[in-house]
């Protein structure tokens, strides 16, 4: 059977969508892995020891509350994998301030927030959380 006009439109539409949104484009398309590697110096990063508290659903992407805690860390960096730029903020803690902080950040769309901690012994740890954003903030 010859393809109908409807078939052609359907296939064409799928091809166009694939071209615009290649599989996995949401990941690392903003250079987040390079940004994390720049922070860690390419050292291995253990998935443990960092607590990241973010809302699962954020109504307002312009101000998403984030709390991060990493016992024994001297620096903590926050990243996102779906904003125009991957870096968000980097905290350096002196001896009087325990390694934990709250901050409000912009999320342009639903994406992952990643926290990477540099521990006092020079090793790195991380965790990440997905946030669904209802109305994106202009990040």
């Amino acid at each position: 059977m010859a393809p109908t006009r409807r078939d052609i439109l359907r296939i064409g539409g799928a091809a166009a969508a694939a071209a615009l949104f290649p599989a996995g484009a949401a990941r690392a398309s903003n250079g987040v892995s390079q940004a994390v590697a720049a922070f860690t110096g390419g050292a291995p990063v253990l998935e443990a020891g960092v607590r990241l508290e973010v809302p699962e659903i954020a109504d307002n992407g312009g101000a998403v509350p984030v709390r991060v805690v990493a016992e024994g860390a001297r620096r903590i960096a926050l990243f996102t994998d779906g904003n125009p730029y991957p870096r968000v903020a980097t905290f350096s803690f002196g001896p009087l301030v325990p390694p934990a902080a709250k901050i409000r950040i912009r999320l342009a769309k639903s994406q992952n927030v990643i926290a990477v901690a540099e521990m006092a012994d020079g090793t790195f740890r991380k965790t990440s959380r997905a946030v669904a954003v209802t109305v994106g903030g202009c990040a």
Binding site: G62, A63, V64, T80, N83, P84, Y85, R87, V88, A89, T90, F91, S92, F93, G94, P95, L96, V97, P98, A100, A101, K102, I103, R104, I105, R106, L107, G137, C138, A139
Partner: protein, 108 residues
């Protein structure tokens, strides 16, 4: 743009070594450099790129901020101090301005 106004909330007196909460905020649009104004012209990047806290001259906390930090940057943290002293806060703007605040903390 209105002159940024920093605000902090911190107890006047604390107990030695017992953590207390420090809340900080500064009014600032945090222009990302990616936005456009109503006429479609690009708005130049202008953010607070650094926030620093010192206690009796020693660095307690330092934060590098990027455009992904919300407008009117809010940062909250805990700290514990061994003795009375001066808590100093500093926000550094892209345009080179520095906004600062200081508070005496009494250890009772």
């Amino acid at each position: 743009m209105a002159k940024p106004k920093p605000r902090i909330r911190v107890p006047k007196s604390v107990e030695a070594g017992v953590p207390f909460t420090v809340r900080t905020r500064i009014t600032h649009p945090m222009h990302t450099g990616l936005q456009r104004d109503r006429d479609g012209n690009p708005v130049a990047r202008r953010i607070v790129n650094r926030f620093r806290v010192r206690y009796n001259g020693a660095e307690a906390l330092s934060v590098d901020l990027e455009p992904a930090v919300s407008a009117d940057p809010y940062i909250e943290f805990e700290m514990a101090v061994p003795e009375s002293g001066l808590l100093e806060f500093e926000w550094v703007d892209d345009d080179g301005s520095v906004y600062s605040l200081r508070r005496e903390i009494a250890v009772g």
